[in-house]
């Protein structure tokens, strides 16, 4: 019996599982480095260690829209379905990371500031970024035709991505006008190595997540193609 799905539709895992294993081990190592070697902060004590997950998570959340932008533009220029699936995967992973950043920020904020939420410039911009990505994903879930979904997502992805720095700037100005305390932005040299290691660890994890999500998306499309072929009586 012939295979229903064409071989071109199934993504080949290649060396990615090895990369995934490496990424997880690197993450464990970086976290261990951070937790075991950094001295407690003068004001926050051991609470400071949450920085090793919160800050890299925030950086990945900012990288994700850039990836969405690149692949959305590529899709608009070349029309290759892979670019659309990669953009969508990056958006979903980005939404997860920005949601994670928000939750970690709240966990850090409660003992540090005494409140679960403060309209701090960075936290607020991150919340708006999260909502922009959620909007992108909602659009995709409400559109069934793959061609239309890809075109619309690409346009929305490009506009959303270019808005991210503008949102950050406007929220920052809004905050400075209203004179509230800002969160510390300089990192003590004792923490830099661990922070950098964790940043790379999160980068590798994000790349691996995007790859896995892309593989799942390709499989979904292969299933859709196969269903179409069966419906058209080709099999």
């Amino acid at each position: 019996m012939t295979d229903i799905a064409a071989t071109r539709d199934i993504p080949r895992p290649g060396r990615w599982p090895w990369f995934g294993a490496f990424a997880i081990l690197f993450l464990i190592g970086s976290q261990a480095l951070g937790i075991l070697t950094s001295p407690p902060d003068r004001d926050m004590g051991d609470l400071q260690k949450i920085m090793y997950v919160h800050v890299p998570s925030a950086w990945m959340s900012l990288l994700a829209p850039a990836i969405v932008l690149v692949f959305s533009l590529r899709y608009l220029m070349k029309g290759r379905e892979d670019d659309d699936l990669l953009a969508a995967s990056a958006a979903e992973v980005g939404a997860a990371f920005s949601g994670l950043t928000l939750v970690l920020g709240m966990i850090w904020g409660r003992p540090a500031w005494g409140v679960w939420w403060a309209w701090d410039a960075r936290l607020t911009s991150m919340l708006v970024l999260f909502l922009i990505l959620v909007g992108y994903l909602s659009l995709r879930s409400f559109v069934e035709d793959p061609q239309r979904r890809a075109q619309w997502s690409a346009a929305v992805g490009v506009l959303g991505a270019i808005n991210v720095p503008i949102v950050y700037m406007s929220v920052k100005w809004w905050r400075t006008l209203h004179q509230m305390q800002s969160s510390p932005s300089t990192v003590d040299p004792a923490y830099v190595l661990s922070l950098r290691a964790n940043a790379f660890a999160f980068l590798f994890m994000m790349i691996y997540f995007i790859r896995r999500r892309y593989e799942a998306a390709r499989l979904e499309r292969a299933a859709e193609h196969a269903a179409e072929a069966v419906a058209l009586g080709e099999r």
Binding site: L76, V128, L131, I132, V134, G135, S138, L139, F142, V143, D145, Q147, R148, Q151, W152, A154, A155, V156, V158, L159, G160, I162, N163, I166, V167, M169, S170, V171, W173, W174, L177
Partner: protein
Amino acid sequence: MTAWRDDWRRVRTIAWKDLTTERRSKAGFNGVVALGVTILVLFGFALGPDAQAIRDAAAGAVWLAVLFAGVLAFNRSYQVELETGALEQLLLYPGSRWTIFSGKLLANLTFVGLMLVIVVLVGIVLFQVTVPSSWPLLVGVLALGTVGLVSLGTFYAAMASRSRAREVLLPLLLFPMLVPVLLAAMEASKALLGGDLMHASGAWVKMLFAYDIIFLVATHLAFEHVIEA
């Protein structure tokens, strides 16, 4: 140069068509204005009755009322064509797609602009606002804010109006994107109403201007990908 003249003629024709459709059935405009005013009243209940609290919140309340009422206008601007199948006909005509967007944008600017004027006047009365001497600048801020709001609203409505759950999708896509416009417009309005002692409004006006230019260009470029699909 005839290409530009043709494009401009298309833009004008589409804008005129949209405005004529609205003019003939005034229900749409009246409904949207009524909604804007109702939202203002609800804000009054939420924030009042203390006069100072209401006065401080006036700029924010007016902008949000215009935003919520405007969302209805954006979906409506594609509604008539979708119901009658006229959008396919429109796309069959030769010519650049961005002219369709420009035409609808101009029509929506007029529609939302008129609505804004009425809502602002009602807001001044309800929220006991004293009109400052710098009111021409305030009018400028209102205009720039409206351009930002309407360009993105018209763009996203091209997609939302043609998908399932259009009432939810348009705000969900549009509102986070409008954060810079809303912040800038609300803060500049607040500053001007309060006498602008810190000259904060200038920076916000520049940001509004930059935002409007960036997104006017981006939406015009992206429109053909969105309307053909």
